[in-house]
């Protein structure tokens, strides 16, 4: 964990997550400022818009704009939800935010609740990080006891309460409407949109869902101003961002850096490629983002616009690094199995298509590929994309298309010679147990 940013800086691992530590770091000053200066909800949203903060969960949608979609004068309850259901292979930033700086998320959510007039919020936490869920519950209790949550916060007439809800092993619940279904105590199957959550969300009421890191950025924006946040990054890409670097690097972990930092610098921070081997490919934004070859990636800067121009997505900021010992067919097989396993089964193209993708990649990897298999894979992806309720089908298809596009020769070699282009012993050596 290393930070030049605003969320993970000044932290000391497991020792500084409590309320008292957070207050020492300037915590809850933003909330106090809003209450003391009676800053209006509209002004809070205007400040967030000014910051150019874009959703940190993957889509990169402007946060201030999203907040302004909530109906102002709605009779009845409005809800807020935090998406901490982090299960996209490669992404592990929200876990560090929640376990090392949980109050930044709580403060961000209270401010969001104030700005949108929500009376209640839920933080949906990935089931596999249950220890983090338990800690978050403790942090909530601290906030409640300090009068920061509940009725008449800090003596004002603003009331807001916040609770933790855990997942229990379903990637699809990271999709915002599936997440709402799951909070309602149902199977996490995405809803058809429209209506969007801002008009029909949790329990059918207006609801806004943001990512953990998005909420954790809010206190800084209110405390220091939207302009200050924007200046940390680059135009249209405000702020610093957490990048989760995994795979073949010497120091895997989270790196909080300004948006617009060259990829080469991030790779160096992460200790460079392991064993002095050559970089082969990078998935820059979580397993759903198209893979990019090393040469393209080395010219990119880490921000939404640069990565998108290079043909991929910054997504959640999960950077999966693969060196020359990687068999790209095997790498894709692992990803395809994941989407096959995690498809919720609601839409036929995704339920059936992800199975086809996995089985065909699996047979290529195992020496049973057929000459027209690459055409078949491309045809299956074409029949999934855009034909499903949520984006999981697209997420399963984009890796397949991009792996074939950039590493088609390796797939063709597999099909023709019934074996990997990269020798087995090189693969084994490259991906053996590595602990920094």
């Amino acid at each position: 964990m290393s930070s030049q940013g605003i969320i993970l800086s000044g932290l000391d691992g497991d020792r500084t997550w409590r309320l008292a530590d957070y207050i020492k770091r300037g915590g809850y000053e933003a909330l106090r400022k809003i209450i003391a200066e009676k800053i209006s909800a509209d002004d809070v949203i205007a400040e967030v818009k000014k910051s150019s903060l874009r959703g940190r969960g993957g889509a990169g949608f402007p946060t201030g704009l999203k907040w302004s979609f909530m109906p102002r004068a709605f009779p009845g309850a409005k809800y807020l939800a935090c998406n901490s259901d982090e299960g996209e292979p490669g992404t592990f930033k929200d876990r560090d935010i929640l376990r090392y700086n949980p109050h930044s998320v709580i403060e961000g959510m209270i401010i969001a609740g104030y700005a949108m007039g929500c009376e209640r919020g839920y933080n949906y936490i990935h089931g596999e990080i249950f220890e983090v869920y338990s800690r978050f519950e403790e942090a909530l209790q601290e906030a409640r006891e300090a009068g920061l949550l509940g009725k008449n916060i800090l003596g004002s007439d603003f009331s807001f309460d916040l609770f933790a809800h855990h997942g229990y092993g379903a990637y699809i619940c990271g999709e915002e409407t599936a997440l709402l279904e799951s909070i309602e105590g149902k199977k996490g199957q995405p809803r058809f949109k429209p209506p969007f959550p801002a008009s029909f969300g949790l329990y059918g009421k207006p609801t806004t869902i943001n990512n953990t890191e998005t909420f954790a950025s809010i206190p800084y924006i209110i405390r220091e101003g939207g302009d200050a946040f924007l200046a940390l990054g680059k135009p249209n890409n405000g702020g610093t961002k957490l990048f989760s670097v995994s795979g073949h690097v010497n120091k895997p972990g989270n790196y909080e850096i300004p948006l617009g930092t060259p990829f080469a610098d991030l790779l160096e921070m992460a200790g460079g490629v392991r064993g002095g081997r050559k970089l082969k490919a990078v998935i820059p934004g979580g397993s759903s983002a198209p893979v990019l070859p090393a040469s393209v990636m080395m010219d990119c800067t880490m921000d939404y616009d640069s990565i998108s121009k290079a043909g991929s997505m910054l997504g959640s900021g999960a950077v999966i690094v693969m060196d020359e010992s990687t068999c790209m067919v095997k790498a894709l097989e692992r990803l395809s199995y994941f989407y096959f396993e995690e498809s919720c089964g609601q839409c036929t193209p995704c339920r059936e298509g992800t199975g086809w993708l996995y089985r065909v990649v699996h047979r290529i990897e195992n020496g049973l590929g057929r000459p027209d298999d690459l055409d078949l894979l491309n045809s299956v992806t074409a029949n999934i994309m855009g034909r499903t309720i949520c984006a999981l089908g697209d997420a399963a298809s984009m890796p397949v298309q991009s792996f074939i596009k950039h590493f088609g020769d390796e797939f063709a070699f597999h099909i023709e010679h019934k074996k990997c282009l990269v020798p087995q012993d090189v693969q084994r050596e490259g991906s053996k147990i590595y602990v920094a």
């Binding site: 249950f130 809800h165 199977k187």
Partner: protein, 158 residues
């Protein structure tokens, strides 16, 4: 059917949601039931359904949809190893192979003494800690070298 302690925990969960939305507590109620019983039998699921005033089928749908619920008996210790791509690049598959060898079982099998069940997991959101595994769903173990796996298995046998 469930202990008073478990019911107290479930009541705490119910209180998190609006009074007319008791069913929102179904996920945590099933988790609490599984912690007590080890796995979720039809009887346990039906009990949870009655307690939350839900149709049993609705609770069964939840139990069968989320993969950390066990609908059949598992060993006293369930070990789930992540073998997804980022973990695999840092030895996740090797770690799983090592555990298989040590326990003499494959994925989805239980040792003959009923002590260990091995599962293959999907992304746990801790790729930087690879190899990663979970013990009984809730305890995450990071950076699992062969030595640390040996130590863990020893500790869990006690």
């Amino acid at each position: 059917m469930l202990s008073p302690e478990s019911l107290k925990k479930i009541d705490r969960e119910i209180a998190k949601y609006p009074p007319d939305q008791k069913q929102s507590a179904s996920m945590s109620a099933l988790r609490i039931a599984q912690e007590e019983k080890g796995w979720l039998s039809s009887e346990t699921i039906e009990f949870v359904a009655k307690y939350l005033e839900m149709p049993a089928i609705a609770v069964y749908e939840v139990a069968s949809f989320y993969n950390m619920y066990d609908l059949s008996p598992v060993g006293a210790r369930k070990i789930t190893v992540c073998t997804n791509l980022p973990c695999a690049l840092s030895g996740g598959v090797h770690a799983a192979d090592y555990i298989k060898k040590r326990l003499g079982i494959d994925f989805n099998e239980t040792t003959s003494d009923g002590k260990f069940t091995l599962k293959e997991g999907e992304c746990m959101g801790a790729c930087g800690d690879a190899p990663v595994l979970l013990v009984n769903n809730h305890h995450m173990c990071s950076w699992m070298t062969e030595e640390k796996i040996d130590q863990l298995l020893e500790d869990l046998k006690k």
